[in-house]
Symmetry: C2
Subunit: 209 residues, 2 copies
């Protein structure tokens, strides 16, 4: 059965380990998943590669994509645009790959509104103290940055209830397998099997004639 | 975390292998699952044991349970009552066990109406021809009984869309693991983690003061 892939949006607190979790999932099941790469108008930082971290485009190109409906969602931060290109996601879903989008809460809810079949996942550490530990553990950020992240987390927490599932990222391997089981299960949703169900009904009707 | 268990209702065509599938699940994860046993007013058949196949009760006892709200759902076939006792299910869910109910479509939809968090699963063979093969393969039923079952399957198929998930029972072991992954995933639903989420929000609020 060449089933269309599942679109999964992953959000979560800064420090919850979303990036590590997604990398772990992709390295475990490279044939199964495709990671969506965002487009942005900001300049590449040293070491960043076009098509890997981001697709780097001009402001004009980005605004043309907005007008053409070429973005699943987009947002503007300071003077730069960030968005999710539609063609890549569509191609991968059509090819039967499950596509992962890592985006913040506002964008995630916009995607769900537009595509109600999207699986919305929220990643969190086991508790606030652990979140603080992880943020401090990086050892690279100032006290102010850490406190800002924690306040940001508190604001994001008010949106958690609007997600479908929660993933408590305690042990990375366990969490990656939970994530994989969760996405795999979505392939068994009734709505993802409409063609099979229609066929089954048609075949069974023969016995009623 | 002593999380409440998940209530799962399994329906499916006669010949889909529901019974075998459920036994396989329970033998793989005996600590995790509890199978709900129905109450009935019909007489035990040779070899049937009270509390194993059914709880055998009198008509008066059954009707008292109906009046007392002691049944999750019930139905009357010919002159006999069949129903799902509430206490056992509640006890098991409270103890953190995932409870499996095997009931037909009408009853399943009644349960979902009453308890919207119930996971509704529909089990089907990979196609109508395979269903017919399995029914014939038993070698114990008359042509008329087989055709009746297939017509019954056709009527039941019209309710499939109202289920949450479909399980195609092709290979028993694969299907049992899909079933287990599906139920396990439901423990990650936002609605199943309200206490954790409330606690997380409360802890994070401290950073905003």
């Amino acid at each position: 059965m060449n089933q269309r892939g599942i679109l999964t949006v992953i959000s979560g607190f800064s420090g919850a380990g979303k990036g590590t979790l997604i990398r772990e999932l992709l390295s475990r099941y490279p044939q199964r998943y495709a990671l969506s790469v965002s487009a942005t108008t900001r300049s590449p930082r040293p070491g960043e590669e076009n098509g890997r971290e981001y697709f780097f485009v001009t402001k004009e190109e980005f605004e043309k994509r907005i007008r053409d409906g070429g973005l699943i969602e987009y947002a503007q931060y300071v003077e730069n645009y960030y968005g999710t290109p539609k063609d890549y996601v569509d191609e991968q879903l059509e090819a039967g790959k499950d596509v992962i989008l890592e985006i913040e809460v506002q964008g995630a809810l916009k995607v769900k509104e537009k595509f109600p079949d999207t699986l919305l996942l929220f990643v969190t550490p086991p508790g606030a103290a652990e979140l603080e530990n992880r943020l401090r553990g990086r050892g690279t950020e100032s006290e102010e940055v850490i406190l800002n992240r924690l306040r940001q987390a508190s604001r994001e927490a008010s949106f958690m209830d609007r997600y479908d599932y929660i993933l408590v990222n305690d042990k990375l391997e366990v969490c990656a397998e939970e994530l994989h089981a969760l996405i795999s299960s979505q392939r068994l949703r009734m709505s993802a099997n409409a063609a099979f169900i229609t066929q089954m009904k048609k075949e069974l009707e023969r016995y009623c004639m």
